[in-house]
């Protein structure tokens, strides 16, 4: 069953309007936080809820907040990460377009928890409309006194700004995002120091995905036990899954964690259309191995009319394009992989190519500052393991085993 918690009002007209949001209990959690809770109590509540990062890495949110030093006199920053660019993922955009105040409220509570008076929402540059709706929501929140100075008479100040990006996938990685927000090229930083200690402008900073932040007001309102009662022992709560590819009913579905993938694909998605069978699933955004991990919650379904070398060619083209160029293994490695795989797909592969691909993958994995290198390699290694004979077929027969010829209607 779908579990609409974040999506409770997703289809409600005008939910993006602050008056409608207020009529649905909006900003009550923010008021409760400001008037009745200490930052430590907020962090404790989020820790108890078991909420983990929804951007892909799955780091425990309360723990991340607790890393911000309490005895540091520098300003602190809270950043909502809406640089949604992981192929297959389009959940943050839906939240921003349909329930932007949930994100604003979540950001406000998170900012309070870490003692921040300036929050930024980093929205990918192509998302013009979502960014506009976030800006509008923030303006409305200022007008109602939920942001700005002396919020609700409590003496707490918080400013919030939307910052739009420039179309770089890498800026979804938190340290690259920080550089980008500082007006620099979006390249990752070595850790330590972690952003919680030295983030934006070398000040303590927390970066959270906006889906994570949207869950925060719900946890404050309903309690950590309520949130933790959903999901599994290890992964609590709900998650939005973006279902795309060869599927009858593509869309964003919110499910309790632990719901079987087959339920999402067959019961909600209606299975593979046009009488074809399923060949593969990319389960957590394109950076995850086939059939493996949660990641960003993007599920891409691939039917049996699809050449897996063609799929991998598409993906490696993406990672080569998005590699920021900072680390040699990723910059050079993704370019080599792209050339080799493109050659293979064109039927010009040579004996030894697969071993060469294996070797390049091994030399990227774990040898880069940020996870983009690993992300490029994981689907390739997984495809080479599961569909190796299809790759070999390209070398032996100079053509695809099945030709991907998809025509839009």
């Amino acid at each position: 069953m779908e579990k609409k918690v974040l999506f409770k009002y997703i289809d409600f007209p005008e939910q993006a309007n602050i008056n409608i949001y207020l009529s649905h209990g909006g900003y009550q959690a923010w008021e409760k936080t400001l008037k009745n809770m200490s930052p430590a109590a907020v962090i404790d509540e989020i820790k108890k809820s078991g909420l983990r990062g929804r951007g892909g890495a799955g780091f425990p949110t309360g723990l991340k907040w607790s890393f911000v030093p309490k005895d540091n006199s520098k300003p602190r920053y809270l950043i909502g990460n809406a640089d949604e660019s992981e192929p297959g993922t389009c959940k943050d955009r839906v939240l921003m377009e349909h329930d932007p105040h949930a994100i604003v409220e979540g950001m406000a509570i998170a900012a309070f928890a870490i003692g921040s008076h300036q929050a930024f929402c980093y929205v990918r540059g192509e998302f013009v409309r979502p960014a506009h709706l976030m800006e509008k929501a923030i303006e409305e929140a200022y007008a109602k006194g939920f942001l700005g100075n002396d919020i609700l008479g409590t003496g707490y100040n918080l400013n919030m700004t939307v910052h739009t990006g420039g179309g770089a996938y890498i800026c979804g990685e938190e340290t690259a995002l920080l550089n980008s927000l500082e007006g620099k090229r979006g390249m990752s930083r070595l850790r330590p120091p972690f952003p919680a200690i030295e983030g934006l402008y070398l000040c303590p900073t927390v970066v959270n995905n906006v889906e994570t932040l949207a869950a925060v007001p719900l946890i404050i309102n309903n309690g950590a036990e309520w949130y933790a009662s959903m999901g599994t022992d290890k992964s609590k709560g709900t998650k939005i899954f973006s279902l795309s590819g060869h599927i009858k009913r593509p869309g964003n579905y919110e499910l309790e964690l632990g719901t079987p993938l087959s339920y999402l694909i067959n019961d909600l998605g209606g299975g593979v259309p046009d009488g074809h069978n399923m060949k593969a699933i990319i389960p957590g955004g394109s950076s995850t191995p086939f059939g493996s991990m949660l990641g960003s919650g993007a599920v891409i379904v691939i039917n049996d009319q699809t050449c897996m070398v063609w799929v991998i060619e598409r993906l490696i083209h993406f990672y080569r394009h998005e590699s920021c160029g900072e680390c040699t293994p990723c910059r050079e490695g993704t370019a080599w992989l792209e050339q080799l795989i493109e050659r293979l797909e064109k039927g010009k592969g040579r004996p030894g190519d697969l071993e060469k691909i294996d070797s390049i993958c091994d030399n990227i994995l774990g040898r880069t500052i940020c996870p983009l290198g690993d992300a490029a390699v994981m689907p390739i290694q997984s495809a080479l393991k599961l569909f190796r004979e299809e790759f070999q077929y390209h070398i032996d027969n100079k053509r695809c085993l099945v030709k991907s010829e998809f025509v839009f209607k």
Partner: protein, 166 residues
């Protein structure tokens, strides 16, 4: 000057959101690109003057972000998502169809300077594939019929001098 008063005012407005002026580079590039359609060295210079930071810092950042065209494009920039979710639903054939309709190849601008056609990486609209972005607006769940209508509307509105908005 390339940047007009409205753009300059917008950039100054963005500037005050940041304690460090350099942070306003991306917002400034976005404002400039919206006005001009692309970016160039002269624009970087103008932004560096407004933000009071070195020219090189603006140029360096701009060169990294592929969303901003670095040479002139047609009045409408058509960006087709060719990443995996869209590709599985026929993005390649969509590109061919657009090439045929516009009489240009991917990467080119139509002779009337109305359209530039490029393909790009995932635009975050995977559940509504195949899709394209034209200027600031997303067009999703595309069919041949929809494409025909979108292009006709854009041609007509440009004849009437009306600007499209999201």
């Amino acid at each position: 000057m390339i940047l007009n008063d409205i753009s300059i005012a917008k950039i100054r407005q963005k500037m005050i959101c940041y304690t460090v002026r350099k942070s306003a580079i991306l917002p400034a590039l976005t404002v400039a690109c919206r006005q001009v359609g692309h970016l160039n060295n002269e624009i970087y210079r103008e932004i560096s003057v407004i933000l009071e930071i070195p020219y090189l810092e603006v140029a360096e950042a701009a060169s990294f972000y592929t969303m901003f065209p670095k040479k002139p494009v047609g009045r409408h920039l058509i960006q087709v998502c060719h990443n995996i979710s869209c590709a599985l639903l026929g993005a390649d054939s969509l590109i061919s169809y657009l090439e045929e309709k516009l009489g240009i190849k991917k990467g080119e601008t139509s002779p009337d300077n109305l359209f530039t056609l490029i393909s790009v990486e995932c635009l975050g609209s995977c559940t509504s594939a195949p899709m394209i972005q034209i200027d600031d607006k997303y067009y999703e769940l595309l069919t041949r019929e929809k494409i025909d209508r979108i292009l006709d509307d854009l041609k007509e509105s440009s004849l009437n001098g009306k600007e499209s908005s999201f």
